[in-house]
Structure formats: structure tokens, C-alpha cells
């Protein structure tokens, strides 16, 4: 069976202002269906900027991004319909109730009524927001916001699920459930692509890892091969980024 290319980034560049260095410098990467991809890097390495360009949130200076065969530059609506995005700050419409938000996202992605009800029940089983789904999102905790953001992002069963720092500030149970959902999404032949500082999570979850530093892609790791070796991902990360674990 031929695996579908879900993400194809070619020679991507971004500079926020003329005097600043490149935030993303000639970055290329590819992701396939049935994969979990991690993007790792220090703060300011260019991870979030890359995700923002992938999702059409900020314009691209040069280069190309194709999502499931659609260019984000020339076919933005089609490209955006292929993914679900969970931002690092779980920005959702605070004034809606949880169920209104999921319904809103289902409307935007044109999911029919029976399907959205069925999927919501499924997400409730795994993420378990319970009765709180009928409450206003402004009353939610950090973890609950993350759960509702995930439900909204997955309501259309996207081929590509993009997450920015998904594990930050989550309790162990929610972290476990998010990981489960990631594996489930992958098992259905879809792609999960996320950025993270959490080396342990990346090591356990990912099939392939891209390491970026100062906007440049500096390494690409096949985790199946990597796990056979004796080096930890943490050591490897510090080695390729030329960073030291301690300042002294």
C-alpha cells in the first residue's frame, strides 16, 4: 500500500522584520500517513513559526507548504480542511459552552449532524469532559480547555493533526489520554505532527523527529532505528544542537 504524503514543506523561509535573523531558514520536511512526527528545538528555534505558516496563520516569505497535496499559499481553504490544529495556548471561544464550541467547529468543517454527535460521544468516552461540556469554556481549567480544543480539532477526523506543545501543563491522566488519541489517529492511517520541548514524550511517541535550531533543520531521526542504539534522545539533542546540559 502506498503511503500518502500529508505534509511536504520545501525550502521554507520566514523573517519577522528586515533587521531580524531568519525565524525559519530554508526548512524542508515531509510527513506521511500513519506517522507521528515530532519537531523539537529550543525556545525561539522556529517550531511555532513553522506550525503557524503550515496552518496559514502567518504568511510565508518563500518556499512551499503542501498539506495532503494542497498548497497553503494557493489553495488555502482546501489545505486547511485537511488538518485539525491545537494551539499551545488552547485559544478557544471562551464565551461558548464546550458543546457549542464542538458544534461550531463541526459547522466550519461541514460535518453532518449524525456524524458529529457520534464523534462527540466517542471523544467524551476517551477525554471525559462529562457534564462540564455544557458549561461555558471560560470556567474550564487548563486541562479541560485542552480537551475541548482537541475535540474541536478532531471533530472532522482530519488526515493531519497538528499540535503545538500539547503536553504542557497537563495532568498525567490527560497526558495519557492525549497520547492514546495520537496513537489512535496514527493507527487510522493519519498523521500527527507536534512540536514539543518534552524530550521524553517525543522519544516515546514519535516515529520520526525533526530537530530545528535557529530556524534551520539540523537533524532528522528515524526513531525505530534510533531506539536500537544506546544513545538517549536527550543526549543526541544536546549533541546536535551543540548545547550543554548545564551552563558551567
Amino acid at each position: 500500500m502506498e503511503t500518502q504524503v500529508t505534509v511536504k514543506i520545501t525550502k521554507l523561509n520566514k523573517r519577522y522584520n528586515p533587521s531580524a535573523p531568519l525565524a525559519v531558514d530554508n526548512l524542508s520536511l515531509v510527513a506521511y500517513g500513519g506517522e507521528i512526527i515530532g519537531i523539537m528545538g529550543q525556545n525561539g528555534a522556529g517550531k511555532t513559526t513553522t506550525l503557524k505558516m503550515m496552518t496559514g496563520m502567518i504568511p510565508i516569505d518563500s518556499g512551499e507548504i503542501e498539506l495532503c497535496g494542497y498548497s497553503i499559499k494557493t489553495q488555502p481553504t482546501e489545505a486547511k480542511a485537511q488538518f485539525g490544529f491545537v494551539s499551545d495556548n488552547h485559544a478557544v471561544f471562551d464565551k461558548m459552552t464546550g458543546i457549542e464550541y464542538v458544534n461550531f467547529m463541526a459547522d466550519i468543517y461541514r460535518v453532518d449532524l449524525d456524524t458529529r454527535v457520534q464523534r462527540l460521544n466517542m471523544f467524551q468516552d476517551s477525554l471525559d469532559l462529562g457534564e462540564a461540556i455544557y458549561n461555558e469554556i471560560s470556567s474550564y481549567s487548563h486541562g479541560m480547555k485542552q480537551k475541548i480544543a482537541i475535540m474541536g480539532a478532531l471533530i472532522h477526523f482530519p488526515k493531519l493533526w497538528i499540535l503545538d506543545e500539547p503536553m504542557t501543563g497537563l495532568d498525567p491522566q490527560t497526558t495519557y489520554r492525549v497520547k492514546e488519541l495520537m496513537f489512535e489517529h496514527k493507527a487510522n492511517g493519519n498523521t500527527v505532527l507536534f512540536s514539543s520541548h518534552n524530550i521524553d514524550a517525543v522519544e516515546k511517541l514519535c516515529d520520526r523527529v525533526y530537530i530545528v535550531s535557529k530556524g534551520k533543520l539540523i537533524d532528522q531521526i528515524n526513531m525505530n532505528e534510533f531506539r536500537k542504539g544506546s544513545t538517549t534522545l536527550e543526549d543526541h539533542f544536546f549533541e546536535v544542537t551543540h548545547l550543554h546540559k548545564r551552563d558551567d
Partner: protein
Amino acid sequence: MKNTSFGILAKRELKGLFSIKKLRVKNIDIFGLLLNLVIVCAIGTAFVLVLTGVIGQYSVIYQRSSTLPRAEQLVLRQREFMTLSYAIIVIVGILLGLGKINGSITYDKEMENLLRLPVTNQEIFLSKLTTLYIYQVVSMSIMIIAVNVTFAVATDRIITNQSIVPDINSVWFWVCTALTCLMLPALSFLFSAVLSVPAKYIVNWIKTKYILLAILFIATLCVAFWLYSSVLTLVRSMFETGQIKYTFSDEVVKFIIGFDATCYPVAFFTDAIFGVGLWYNLPIMVVVTIACILLIYLFTRYLFNNYIMNGANIKKAFNKKIAMKKSSPFGAFVWKEFITVLRTPDYTFSYFGTAFSLPIMVYCCTGILAELITNMIALEFNFEIGLLCVTMFAVLTNTFCATNISREGELFIINKSLPTNYSMQVLAKVLFCSIINVISLLATCLLLWLNPQGFFNINAGEFIVMLCVSLLITTGEIFMATNRDLRRPKFSIANNPSVSNSASSFSIAIGFIISIALGFGAIVLNFLMARKFQNAIIAHRVVVAVVICVSAIFLLVNALCLFVGLGKRVNRTVN
């Protein structure tokens, strides 16, 4: 104090309370600044003029009206008036304090951050209490000084021989004014502190009753305007019939005398400024103030410890089970706009409140203005005056649209990742505002046409033209305001939905200019055309044609400015 935790916290609180920020030239909102300046000057001038006039006439009317022997003693009448003024200032102070206490001593993100700092709860509490008291002193001092000075000047013109009346040139007057400025706020602040707990419970209860809240806002604004109009009509009628002289009947005078005699401790302050019984009034004032401050401390500490620290003010979210229903992406965006406004009390008040009370506002003001102009020039311009009032008020209502983009806050950029084009998202905002605008204007024009009180006269044709023209102008304004906001958004931050940007003041300024130009332009044009054609019907038709053309051009230009290249502009707007 500077280096202590208390000093640092108090300084920070003061900056927040008085909105002290470092101004950058490029961030200065010139339109807003000028507009605020004009409004403050106008209100200040009107206040001083009205107060001077009322104080000047009060004793005279009072003296003539009442048959009671005491009514002839001018100084006593003035003293009673002063007690009334101070009582009103105290009531305003209570409301101000109530708002500030509940806004400041609240368990929110800011309080969470403060509680994490290595400072005691006592220091946080005291710094907040001290700055709130300073705020109360500053805001009430403005009113007290204005009343005292105006009172002294006005009474000085009436009776010059009675030294007991406050003398603006005396040292005592200024010492007493300063003491009142320091002490009277303590009294009002005490009431605010006592009322703050029940007020907080009511606010929290009503906070999530969105529809009830919207109805309350609308009803309050309608009743306020109706009262304003009724009082104005009553006063005018009393002046016209001469009844004003008999306002102060024996019953009214008895009530005022009784109020003055029992309104303690406020009356102590009046006694002091009139120089009555200083040797005992002054110590009493000091004792009362200290007692007030002690009680404020106890009440707010109770509020802080038992109420805020237990998180009792955290909003209880509703848990109403609703089913999913399908709609188009465009419909979903319009619905999102609606519930965002409905569920944000600030937005409900500034948009739904003003939009749905527009009919009453316009109806009240149009009647007064139409009668005023008819009396001045002996000609009827009902249609033109109606048009002026409708557009002017509707323009003010629609300034809310100047935050259409900024209101989104951080979600503006997240929304870009949704598979819909940007024009659709902006169009949904514009459509939502237009729907509210149509309902509001339809009700307004209908009320003017039906004219239940019979003081205003327009026919069915004029009703239709007025509706069309006001719709064209205000829809154009919605486009203009949204476009301006898109060019210079000032995104709101979480937990603080209030957005104020240059687009709002720009939109008010342009809207005012257009509505005044259109309204008065129509009156002048009608006058000129009537003279030229010697035919009122032709003149009226010319006016209608010109007004429709101007409004249509205004709408068209603003629609083009907003929608041409919209996608590119949205794409450029990055947080």
C-alpha cells in the same frame, strides 16, 4: 514606604487605578483625546452653569413659594441646599466605591499572581484598601470642590452682607473644603464597603443570566431617557406656565428642612463650611471619619478573608443541556458573534443596550429638538430633524463595530487556520452588526412615524426614506469602522474584554460629522429650495433625492474600501 512590600504594591495599584501608562506618540489616539476633551469640557461647563443658575434661583424661588416662616431665611435655605448637594455627592461616591471595591478586591488571575508573591495577605489587602481610598478622595474631591466653589460664588452674588455664607476668599473656606475632601469620602466609602458583599453576590448571580442582564441594560437605558425627557418636559412646562414658582410647596419645604435636620453625619460637613458650631462639629467630623475608616477596614477585611479567599466569587457556569444542530460555516460565525456579545456584559451594555434603547433615545430627543427649532425659526422640519437624530444616535451605537476585529484578541490569528476565507469571517461580523442595526433602526423610525405622544409629524413616505437613509449611513459606518479596526487593531487580552481603540473615536467623529452635515444640510437645502422653487413639495423631493444619493455614495465608498483586497489585509494583520 517606597521600598517596603506595601509601598511597591500600593504604587502598582495606583498605576492600575488611574491607568497611568507611558504614552508613546504613535499610540496616542488623537480623535479619542479630542473627543474626551470636548465631552469633559461640555459636561463641566454645563454642570457649573446649571449649578450656578439653580443655586442662584433656589433661595429666591424657595422664599416665594413657601408660606412657612423659615422660608424667608436665605442662609438656612442655602445651608439645606448644601446638605442636599453633599448627600448626592455621597450617593455618587457610594456607587463609585462599590464598583471599585468589587473590581479591585476580587479573586482573579491578578490576585492569584499577587498571592504567589512573598508578601502577606495583610499587605495585599492594605495596599488595595489604601489605593481605593485615595481613588475615592480624588474622584469625590472633584465634585466637592466644584460644588463648594460654585456655591460660594453663586451665593456671594445673592447676599453679600451675611458673613456666615461661605466666602471663597477666606482661608477657612479652603481649609474646610480640604477637610471635606478628605473626610466625606470615608463616609461614602463605608457604605460602599458594607454594600459590597451583597452587591458582589447579586453581580455574580446575574453575571450568567445573560438574557436577563441584556433586558435590564436595555430597560435601564430606556427608563433613564424617558425620565430625562419627562423631567425636561415638566420643567419646561412649569417655566411656561409659571408653576415653577410654586415647586416648593409647604410639604416639599418641610421635607427638605426635615432632611437637613436629620441627614447626619453629612450635615456636620455643611455646618462646618457655614462656620456653625465649629468647636464641636470639627471633633465630631474627625471622630466620624476615624470610625468610618475603622469600619471600612473591618468590612473589607471580612470581604477579603471570608469571601474572596474562599473563591466564593468564582462564576458558576451554567449547565443547561443543549443538543447539537447543524448550520452553514457562515451562519456559525454569525452565531458566534451573537453569543460573544450576549455573554460579555460589557459588550451587551455597549451594543445591545444602546441599540435596543435607540428608539426611546431618539424619540425623546427628536421631540425636544423639533419643538426647539420650530420655536426658533417658526418653520417645521420634522423629517430633517428626525433624520439628524436617528443618524446621530445610530452612529454612536454602531461605534461598537470599531472593535469588530480587536475584540477577537488572540483568536483572530487562530481563526486564520480555519478552512474559510477571511472575507466570510469579516462579512459575518458585518452582517451581525447590520442585523442589529436594521432591527434597531426599524423600531426607531416606526416609533417616530407612529408618534404616540403626537409631538412629531412624518408621513409614511418620509418614514421609508428616513429608514433607508439611516440604514445606508449606518451600514456605511459599520463598514468604515470595521475597516479602520482591521488596519489598526488593538487586540483585547483574555479576561479583559474592554477594547478602546482609535477606530472607535474616528468612527464617532466621522459619524457625527456625516449625520450633522446630513441633518442640518437637509434643513438648509430645504429652506433654499423652498425659496427657489416657491413650492414646498418640490423642495422636499430635492432634499430627499440629495440625501439618498449622499448616503448611497457613503455606503458604496466604504463597502469598496472594506471588501477590495480584504483577504490580503487580513493576511497582513498578525498579532
